[in-house]
């Protein structure tokens, strides 16, 4: 199945059928209540990112979008499935083997303050990847650091500053500059603008857009904000309780969403208030059948039997639903 989801062009990242389980805490309640010992954070996920493509990964909190992003970086090892990066299978590489891979990928976090070492100046934060990752000549380091600051729109005197001396927007610029130090092929941005002040957010979103176009890198933009995803992404994948239920080119997804969950999600940012979405009780990710069926107004009898397979329904548009809209 995975193969026919993919067009002929080569992908930078190809996530195939990936499942990730986390072990639960063995509390007394869990043991007595016969709660499964593991929790499935991501189930049978397929996601491919082309070179120079920006993919938005949207979903609610707990949907597994952050876990999937980190799994692509191989901060987690999948329990099932495979991750192909630049044509190479990195699914089960050991840490020392991953070092080469990590030079080609970078992560930008939601909270830049906690992702930067408070005792390191901006210069140190930006120079470290060069020293460790690329063994750059020390004389060259200052030039590269200054170039990186210019690239993200920070003044050169920022390099002597410590993180606590910078504002939220400046910190996120530093985090982005650091992510780009080794010229990665892929940047994963995890809610990278969610904590920023409203009046600063558009500056950083525009910076992401400019740098992506200038450096021709691929982005995976993990966000719960549909407007942000729409603005930045070429394609959007929608996750619900660990499953990618629909992936489509951005315009198409907003114009003609097919999965009932995508429709529900998009109705929340519509001005129309008529499409009432009701969250109907809890979702049991371990129950058989479609993950969305307990919430779904279009559920059929067969939706109770198995989660629908993901099928390609148009160029770059895949869907996991037995009874989609239209």
């Amino acid at each position: 199945m995975a193969n026919d989801l993919r067009a002929a062009r080569s992908y930078l990242v190809d996530v195939q059928n990936v499942t990730i389980r986390f072990r639960r805490k063995r509390t007394l309640g869990a043991i007595l209540g016969n709660v499964p010992a593991t929790f499935r954070a991501v189930a049978e996920a397929d996601l491919a990112i082309a070179r120079q493509e920006v993919v938005g990964l949207v979903g609610e909190s707990g949907s597994g979008k952050t876990t999937l992003g980190r799994t692509i970086l191989r901060l987690y090892e999948p329990d099932d499935g495979s991750i192909i990066f630049e044509g190479k299978d990195i699914t089960h590489l050991r840490e020392h083997q991953l070092r080469n891979v990590w030079r080609r990928m970078a992560l930008v976090f939601q909270d830049p303050l906690s992702s930067l070492n408070p005792r390191h100046t901006v210069h140190a934060a930006l120079a470290t990847p060069l020293r460790i990752g690329a063994r750059v000549n020390p004389r060259e380091i200052d030039d590269r650091v200054q170039a990186a600051l210019r690239r993200v729109g920070l003044p050169l005197d920022a390099q002597a500053r410590y993180p606590h001396e910078l504002s939220g927007g400046q910190l996120q610029r530093v985090a982005l500059a650091r992510a780009l130090m080794l010229s990665p092929a892929l940047v994963i941005a995890d809610e990278a603008v969610s904590k920023l002040d409203v009046s600063v957010r558009s500056q950083i979103l525009n910076l992401f857009k400019d740098l992506q176009a200038e450096l021709r890198i691929s982005f995976l933009f993990v966000t719960h904000d549909l407007h942000v995803a729409k603005y930045i992404s070429d394609r959007i994948a929608v996750m619900f309780f660990g499953r990618i239920v629909e992936t489509a080119p951005t315009d198409e997804l907003f114009r003609a969403p097919r999965h009932p969950y995508t429709r529900a999600l998009l109705s929340t940012i519509d001005d129309r208030d008529d499409e009432t979405v009701v969250r109907r009780g809890a979702v049991d990710p371990d129950a058989a059948g479609c993950i969305y069926r307990s919430q779904c107004p279009r559920a059929l009898a067969r939706c109770r039997e198995a989660h629908p397979p993901t099928a390609l329904i148009g160029p770059g548009h895949s869907l996991a639903c037995y009874n989609p809209s239209q």
């Binding site: 939220g168 009046s199 957010r201 558009s202 525009n206 857009k209 979405v277």
Partner: protein
């Protein structure tokens, strides 16, 4: 800084206002430095009116909200000419008087509902506390608390109220807990409810449900609301009037529709332009240059001047008063001198 009292649209004199704030200042003591965090804020609120208080982090919107319950932090100092809720003077009230006022005349809904509950007690216990308080006030008995609680929960679109009452807070989702909290706050029948970013931590779909509840609550209960948020679209969805705060000051107020359709302050205009562009799906977002000033940043005139596309030399000369615009709006900007 002008401290003229704002009279708000169609208010029939001060007696009609359930909340009166005139010239509220709040100072924070930070390592010997006195930071002026809320700057001569005036607010008036009539029964069943919803005011959207918009601002970014550090704008003073949350501290303004906390001041209205006299829950400001210990190292803060409040001064005001008037701070009244339903006739009660909050500036002169003793601790015991304040405790009686909270929950009955004025209540608060926080961003994180978990902190509002005792983790060791079931929801039913919390409901009973609130409802028996109300019964005592009306000299009734609390025997019917369960029925009353179920009714309130049902109104918040919680169908399985029995199960919820028997649950501990940690057993409920964030959205469910926020709904329970709103139900319990309503049970106290306060005149003024201050909701501080009540949907910010919630998922999109749950957020929409809660916002719908707020609209319903406004219709069914007489309470006045202050809805504190950083999100323009959320404010637009629930508010009758908007007040925009920047760096401790209210820079613009007016009826929601008017503010959204013709924002006057360059900061408000910038925020709305960005929110609109993001919704409309433009190729490139309009930006507001620079970043908000820090709390300790000294200022001589308009706090927004550094970032303002309309900056004039007079903007830095001295404090700028709120000026009347339109029928009931006000704006703190020299572009609107003389209305």
């Amino acid at each position: 800084m002008s401290n003229q009292t704002l009279s708000i649209a169609g208010s029939a004199g001060p007696s009609a206002n359930v909340l009166q704030v005139d010239g509220l200042d709040l100072f924070l003591d930070a390592k010997g430095r006195r930071l002026h965090v809320v700057r001569s804020v005036d607010l008036d609120l009539r029964a069943s009116e919803v005011l959207g208080l918009i601002g970014e982090s550090g704008s003073g919107k949350t501290l303004t909200g906390l001041s209205l319950l006299r829950l400001e932090p210990e190292h803060a100092e409040i001064t005001a000419r008037i701070l009244r809720i339903d006739g009660a003077n909050l500036l002169a009230a003793t601790r015991a008087e304040l405790r009686r006022l909270r929950g009955r005349k004025v209540a608060m809904i926080f961003q994180d509902p978990v902190g509002a509950f005792n983790p060791a007690k079931r929801i039913g216990w919390h409901a009973r506390q609130v409802i028996s308080l109300r019964s005592r006030r009306t000299h009734g008995r609390a025997t019917g608390w369960r029925a009353a609680a179920l009714e309130l929960l049902a109104e918040m679109d919680i169908p399985d109220g029995q199960r919820v009452l028997a649950s501990f807070p940690h057993q409920l989702s964030g959205g469910m807990l926020q709904r329970v909290l709103i139900a319990l706050v309503l049970a106290g029948e306060p005149q003024v409810i201050i909701a501080d970013e009540p949907t910010t931590n919630l998922d999109n779909i749950v957020e929409q449900q809660i916002l719908r509840l707020f609209r319903k609550m406004k219709r069914n209960h007489g309470a006045a609301f202050i809805f504190i948020t950083h999100d323009m679209t959320v404010a637009a969805a629930v508010s009758d009037r908007i007040a925009v705060m920047y760096a401790g000051e209210i820079v613009e107020t007016g009826p929601t529709r008017e503010v959204f359709e013709s924002p006057r302050h360059p900061y408000t205009a910038g925020l709305i332009r960005t929110a609109r562009a993001l919704q409309a799906g433009v190729r490139r977002l309009p930006e507001i240059a620079g970043e908000p000033p820090g709390l300790a940043t000294p200022r001589t005139g308009c706090a927004f001047a550094r970032r303002c596309p309309e900056r004039m030399s007079e903007c830095d000369m001295g404090p700028i008063a709120l000026a009347r615009v339109g029928a009931t709006g006000q704006v703190r900007c020299l572009l609107y001198r003389g209305g």
